[in-house]
């Protein structure tokens, strides 16, 4: 059905959703860390906006609450934490060299088409609207995963992870008018804890390989040959403790 | 009746022991004549045995009790094996006690102890002889079994007496028997240590097999061993003669029948002996490692006999 037949609020939802998708493209191709964090914050804000609009359309009031939650968590708290960490890790100026950016973007586009094709079989007339939203959020999730695959910078990976979460939120609110509250809270709590732990790990990684390039976390592998392993593997005594 | 049968069995057992040296003497005589020598009398082997029996036996320090027991075991088992082969009359109880397979088994027993005796003293020659003997045996024994199986499969019996009865009963020119005969002859030559496989009249260490195992024996022990070898020769001769050409053998235990049987078998044996002598004069001893080829030929013949029996004489 054409967009003109939709009520205005739903049109707004679609527009916002489209922008969310756009932001995740921005995230994918943004080489500067700080800028990427900002883009992520915007994405969170947009998801929150979508949530409010959906709440307005469906008079489902607990969605206002989850909108607020999203806003605080995704648009303010987490970006702020990331910001602080990048500063403490002295990464404000960090610019990652993206490998084959065009290819990655192409892949992302392909993923968008793919996810739309996926949700096509959900044919029920009154659902086309939500169906498209599901397609968008699925695309956001997949692009987030793609971003984690393509970025070798730990913070960037975390951004990818978080934008996956955004996609999930989007799906949850727009397609299903919000999960039960307990679940929402649990998820939010988990995300928060995860963020804290990520922070802890940034520093642990930093001190262990004094960089945040995840490609250099490659000691635990089966393919290495024995000689190399004897140096590469954990100094065995340290790993398992002194005997007797 | 039964008593008579046993009597006849005993008689022929004694006959085997008695006739064995004679056959050897006869073969030597013929060979001598073929070589334009006069040669010793045919009774020379008896004299040799007597001489050996009267000599004292000498036993090496390193010999074990087995060394002294072996001659008796070899002699006895060979003799028993022989006495199961109908010599002058069929349907002997001994033939029922031990069929062809047992016959082969008894010969194997004799050979087993012969070889052990060879290795007992611990000389190089003894071991060599034992090793070679076992090689020859390993190849000859299956050939022998195959040959007799050919008979057994057509006669539906492994009992020598019934095989001969069968032959006498309905004689036919069977290809299988032809092959079996050939195989059996080759086996006999190999087993009795005749040219071209072995040379009974040599002590050239590189060529001897049977003699190498007897090197350390002397006196009565040697006599027993020699005698056993002679009995073995007669045994094979009789086997060939009486199975493939059974005519004349006594069908019952009447003295006349036995007499004719004796005459017949003596005649047959002397012909075979002559033939053997001629063969040994014209042939030369072959290298040990051509012996396998010789015996494989025997095995092949025997096997062909068996197969042709199966294929050509179905229902026979």
């Amino acid at each position: 059905m054409s967009i003109t037949l939709l009520p205005l609020l739903q049109q707004i939802v679609l527009v916002l959703a489209a922008i969310v998708l756009f932001t995740s493209f921005v995230l994918l191709s943004q080489a500067r860390l700080i800028a990427a964090i900002h883009a992520f914050a915007w994405q969170g804000a947009l998801v929150a906006a979508v949530t409010t609009v959906v709440a307005a359309t469906g008079q489902t009031h607990h969605l206002y609450f989850s909108a607020l939650l999203t806003l605080v968590l995704k648009a303010l708290l987490i970006p702020w934490m990331l910001h602080r960490m990048t500063r403490r890790l002295a990464l404000e100026r960090h610019v990652e060299t993206l490998r084959r950016p065009a290819l990655v973007i192409m892949a992302a586009v392909a993923l968008v088409i793919f996810s739309y094709w996926l949700v096509l079989p959900m044919v029920q007339q009154e659902m086309t609207f939500t169906r498209n939203i599901v397609a968008i959020s699925l695309a956001v999730v997949l692009i987030g995963l793609l971003m984690m695959v393509s970025r070798q910078q730990a913070v960037a990976q975390v951004l990818g992870f978080m934008s996956m979460e955004n996609g999930l939120f989007l799906a949850a609110v727009s397609a299903t008018a919000g999960m039960p509250l307990v679940v929402e809270l649990g998820v939010a709590f988990d995300v928060l804890v995860a963020m804290v732990l990520f922070g802890v790990f940034f520093f642990q990684i930093r001190e262990s390989i004094d960089s945040l390039d995840v490609d250099r976390l490659n000691r635990l592998t089966e393919t290495a040959e024995v000689g190399e392993v004897s140096t590469g593997r954990a100094p065995p005594r340290a790993a398992a403790g002194e005997g007797g | 009746m039964n008593a008579i049968a046993w009597g006849a069995a005993l008689l022929q057992a004694l006959l085997y022991a008695a006739l064995a040296p004679l056959l050897v003497g006869w073969i030597r005589k013929v060979k001598a004549r073929l070589q334009n020598r006069r040669g010793a009398t045919v009774f020379q082997p008896y004299r040799d045995l007597r001489k050996l029996l009267l000599k004292e036996a000498r036993v090496a320090h390193t010999a074990s009790p087995l060394f002294r027991a072996a001659p008796y075991i070899v002699f006895v088992s060979t003799w028993l094996a022989a006495s199961t082969v109908p010599l002058i009359a069929v349907n002997l109880p001994t033939a029922a006690i031990a069929d062809i397979i047992v016959l082969v088994g008894l010969l194997a027993l004799a050979r087993f102890f012969l070889a052990l005796a060879g290795m007992d003293v611990g000389t190089a020659f003894g071991g060599m002889g034992a090793s070679r003997e076992m090689l020859v045996a390993a190849l000859a024994e299956p050939a022998m079994l195959m040959a007799v199986f050919t008979l057994a499969m057509s006669a539906h019996s492994t009992n020598l007496a019934s095989v001969i009865d069968y032959q006498l009963g309905d004689f036919a020119l069977r290809p299988s028997f032809l092959f079996a005969l050939g195989g059996l002859i080759l086996v006999a030559i190999a087993e009795t240590g005749r040219i071209p496989v072995d040379n009974p009249a040599t002590h050239l260490e590189l060529t001897m097999i049977h003699e190498a195992m007897l090197l350390e024996y002397s006196g009565r022990h040697l006599a027993l061993m020699e005698w056993a070898a002679q009995i073995k020769l007669v045994l094979y001769g009789t086997l060939i003669a009486n199975i493939f050409f059974p005519w004349g053998i006594g069908l019952d235990f009447a003295p006349a029948a036995l007499a004719t049987g004796l005459a017949a078998v003596v005649l047959k044996l002397f012909t075979l002996g002559a033939a053997l002598a001629i063969g040994e004069t014209v042939l030369a001893k072959m290298r040990l490692f051509r012996a396998p080829a010789f015996l494989n030929l025997a095995l092949l013949l025997a096997l062909l006999g068996l197969l042709s029996q199966v294929i050509l004489e179905v229902g026979a």
Partner: protein, 670 residues
Amino acid sequence: MTQHTALLLAGLAVLLALVSSVVSVAAIRVPRVLRLLVMPLFGLAGLAALAAGLLILEQGGVATATLPMGLPWLPSRVRLDVLSGFFLCVIGVVSVAVGLYGPAYVRGFERGRDSLTALGGFAGLFLAGMLLVVLADDAFLFMVAWEVMSLSSYFLVAFQHENAANRRAAFLYLLMAHIGGLAILLGYGVLASFGGGFAFEAMRAAPLSPGWASVAFALAFVGFGMKAGLVPLHAWLPEAHPAAPSHISALMSGVMLKVAVYGFIRFVFDLLGDVHWQWGVAVLVIGGISALTGVLAALMQTDLKRLLAYSSVENLGIIFIGLGLALVFLGTGHALLGALAFVAALYHVLNHALFKGLLFLGAGAIVQSTHEYNLEQMGGLLRRMPWTGLFFLLGCISIAALPPFNGFVSEWLTFQAALQAWQLESGVLRSLIPIVSAVLALTGALVAATFVKVYGVAFLGQARSRHVRRARQVPLGMRAGQGWLASLCLLLGVLPTTVIGVIDVIPRELLGAGLPQAAAHGWLWLTPVSPATASYSAPLVIVLLAVFAGAALWGMRRSAVRRVRRCDAWDCGFAPPTVRMQYTATAFAQPIRQVFGLLFHIEESVGQREDGAPRYQLSIADRAWSLFYMPVARAVESASRRVVRLQSGNVRVYLGWTLATLVLLLWIIS
């Protein structure tokens, strides 16, 4: 009711075996326990098993019971019938010998560092496992007992594990045992899925299409054949059997292989029921190959225990030739001939248990008193350990199938069965079977050669090394163990008719056909088919041998000079022979090696030792390795090398895998 007494006795045997294994825990503190308590209990268990077997054999009939174990819907059931009874006897006889032999033998380990508890405990479990395999009446209990048997014997093979070769042997053994077990399990699976249940009755009733029946047969043949050490699945056997302590080797070679035979018989003749003659052909061919290659390999060995192990391969080959004949005859509807071949196989099972047990015990005695496994170092043992020498000689005669000992009887029966091939309709079979019997004959002759070599090199001649020269008589118990088996060898050789009269009940109850003629003419005459066809009277052979011997001795006394003078060996008048001039085992085998060499990888090389002395090297390898085993191992290795690329160590690659999997699945479902 006597059947139930028999079953109780069998249960008692299992119990005693378990007790012996539990008791041996005490050996950690008090080593004496092993020889004072564990081994006697072991022997008693064997005795009980023997009694149970004999009882059920002479009673006939069946006894069953249910154990408080197993799966909830399949309580483990045990069943004692004549077949089980026969194999109980086989197990029992050897175990009794081990019980007699063990106490003195294990003394040798009390000073060693290897755990005596393991030795006694796993030996007990081993015995219990074998007994349970024979008694099991459902696939689950059977498999449990079977694997317990494998596992405990594996621990025994690995008993002296400081020797790397033993570790390798144990690994190979366990691996192949495991694979064989899986094959058997699968075979039972086929039967169960058709018969609707793991209980043996259900399987007997299973309506199998010929195709599935053949599949089940093939699986069983592979599984049990692997345990029985049939070529080409025999590779573990010559490694594992020598590695274990000798009394265990005796059990493994003498008994465990027979348990595999039992499994095969139970599976094919009992559970599968109607057999196809094509199976028989397969069994015949494999059996023939095993017999021939087994004996040739044995002939070329210089390690005594390895040699014995290879000769086990050969003997199992003979047993399976018998079973193959039975299958052919049954498959073509000649029940009586099938029974004949079957009895021949069973008889050889019993015989091989006896003389192979005897020979391994003898080898153990040699090892204990000389610490020597290598034939090339032995010699002249007959004068140093006369009793062992005598018993070993009897064992050699029996295994070489020479009359009047037991080995000959079973070989004679097998030949008799083969010679009935003329009754078959199919010309192919009529010409195949004679060839197999030719192989059998060749095998017999080679076995004789092999054991002439063993006995001549080990017991005759002169000692080739100092420690062998210092060999001493072994204790009474060890001699008793050997004596028990040796006398049984002679007994079974002399009284075959009686024994077969007893065994005859098995084909009658299992195949529905017996040998009515076998014992029809009194205990003196063994006439499997009919007196006209073939007859053998072992007692009379003995008597005649005695008579003739008497005659010969008498003659000697009268005619010959009785004096015997000792002197140096003449040896064609060369210099008096030294120890090193004796023919070695390698030299003995050389002619035959040259004739049959193409069956093996043989590498001979004559080089110089560092001290300049010439040096002869000979290596004989089993072709089965390069043909069957190495390819498999290489395939697994390369596959794993490829697979580990998954674990590249880069987290982004891992995420890529996740993404790829996700996309792939999404694509699949829509």
